[in-house]
């Protein structure tokens, strides 16, 4: 009975969280070589999140890439932090997480509000064109989160996609110096144009930068200060004909600590 109650609580939390951001929050962005880093998952708004315990059934992939090698981030179900990894500290490491899809229904008004907040105007227009504005928003959402762990040396690996369906990929290693964040937004490995990308600064919810990707999927965010940044974007497409939902949404996030000066 207790297990059922717990499962229900998790499902409810998942449902409530559907229009919230999702990101990876490691115990430190600057671990010493050989240190153990615990990897927390967070869901919330304005870069203020609640812990998300690990739940294997909802995880499609959870891994770290360091020194061009991928390994799973291990962890125990129902426990926060969701994972643990030893870092060698030689070069910047990329933690990535992909969820299995979760279904949600929203009343028409709420659904349209949320689409507007996340810059999904093309979906609003599409619903209007299809005469669906008064229809329930039936959606399956997928989470794709990444975090960069600063190492002794920069890593060219962080500029390569890790293979998530929706992904923000930096042009160069942003953990090295304080500079505008430049990168690309990729959907299934291809540049995505006109995607709204938002950057939030940890501890200062009022600092909020927005930009749209250009036709090559490129973005530039002139970050005003160093700190821990959450860079995020949501993309939504029409679900396949046989799907139980009408829309599939893809939530990409990247958490990174931008240093004041070169960390090495």
């Amino acid at each position: 009975m207790r297990s059922l109650a717990f499962a229900a609580a998790v499902l409810l939390a998942t449902a409530r969280a559907q229009a919230h951001d999702f990101w990876i929050e490691p115990s430190t962005f600057h671990p010493a070589p050989g240190a153990m880093v615990s990897v927390g998952l967070r869901v919330g708004q304005n870069f203020i999140g609640d812990p998300v315990p690990r739940l294997s059934a909802f995880i499609a992939a959870f891994s770290v890439r360091q020194n061009d090698k991928d390994r799973d981030v291990v962890g125990s179900d129902h426990i926060d932090p969701a994972g643990f990894l030893p870092v060698d500290g030689n070069a910047t490491a990329t933690i990535s997480y992909a969820s299995t899809g979760a279904y949600i229904e929203l009343p028409p008004g709420e659904f349209e509000d949320y689409l507007r907040v996340y810059g999904l105007d093309d979906v609003i227009a599409s619903r209007a064109a299809r005469g669906e504005r008064n229809k329930l928003g039936r959606e399956r959402f997928y989470r794709y989160a990444k975090a960069l762990i600063t190492g002794r040396d920069p890593s060219a690996g962080v500029t390569k996609p890790v293979g998530l369906a929706y992904e923000i990929v930096p042009n160069d290693d942003p953990t090295r110096r304080f500079a505008p964040f430049r990168g690309h937004v990729l959907y299934h490995g291809e540049p995505l144009a006109n995607a709204l990308v938002v950057a939030l600064l940890h501890g200062r919810p009022s600092v909020n930068l927005e930009t749209h990707s250009d036709p090559q999927g490129a973005i530039t965010l002139p970050l005003p200060c160093p700190g821990i940044w959450l860079i995020k974007s949501v993309h939504m497409v029409r679900a396949s004909f046989f799907a139980s939902e009408d829309w599939d949404s893809f939530w990409a996030s990247l958490t990174v600590e931008i240093p004041n000066q070169n960390p090495s």
Partner: protein, 382 residues
Amino acid sequence: MKRRARWAISAFTMLVPLFLAAMGAFASDHADPTNLTDPNANITDLFFFPKGDQYILIFNVRRALTASQPYDLAPYEYRVNFDLTTPTTFDSAEDRARYGGTITTPDRLHPDATITVRLNNDTTLKSITVNGLKNTEKIRTYTGVRDDPFIFPRFFKVNVIAMVMSLPKDAFPVGQHDFMLWGTASKDGAQLDHVGRSIRTQLPRFGIINTTPPGDQLKTLMENKESRDKLYNFFKGNREWYSKVVADLIQPTFQIRKYDLVPDVMIYTDRFPAVYPNGRLLTDDVVAQTCAFGDCLLQEISYIEGGWPRATTNDRPFLDDWPYLAEPWPERPEPAAPTRSILPYIIGIVLAFALVSWAIIELLRRLIIWLWLKARAKPQAA
């Protein structure tokens, strides 16, 4: 339904520990299989605390000792290792409460100094070799049988073989504030037992680091965490209640916990008062203190085997002066070892299983032949 439930619980409570026993095949310290297979290699305690211009180091082996001399100590080598250079921080309240501090680069733990002791079979000192320390001529040593100082009912009224050393503070580098130390017991060059922070490798889930150097322990713990987490997640993720029962058995005893991913060394710093887990005093009630931050197995056993109220002091008073450990208990014969063997039961179960398997396969074989003959016979009859 009740019968089925009882059967399932019994099966799982028997099978799961058996299945997982391999994970904890090497345990350590007081309560451990090393004691049963090689009792003289069995480390029981490590203490380290300041006393005036000295540091007192106490390293005990051979639990539950009541027998008289001679013992079989000559083949064994007992060593205490000091890491004096790997950085340690004290900012994390959690790490300080649990481990005495934070080791920032755990894979770089290494011995900067060692004290290696060999004993004669009568417990007198055969040799002591000190590397990496200064003023070693001022080191004072005691070896012999003393009362077991562990504040724990199972080990009341029994002795240990003690190695007590008084190390002058100037044996260490000038300005040495932080120490990490661990003890090992070896035979023929092979490490058999390890001790760091008290009640660490004594717990079943840590048996695997008993023969691993501290610098490699994190890797070993991670590997084991991965496999045990997968096992737990598998059982926990199934809908059947009995699968969840298995997961709930695995979790408290065998699963590597989120606060376990730390090498097993004792940390001592003179920046804070010496009290467990900042070093260890003889009077420290380590069972209660360890329970306070997440490991209560020994606390429970102390209630199960002890009286009320739970003992929080040793069963004999410690000495104020050298060699600090309490006087030994009188010698008496050790309890006779059991004579019954489990092997006939295991052989019987294996034979019964083989017999049942053979009978099922034979029945199936005969059934298939019978069906085939019957199928062949029908067209002929038509």
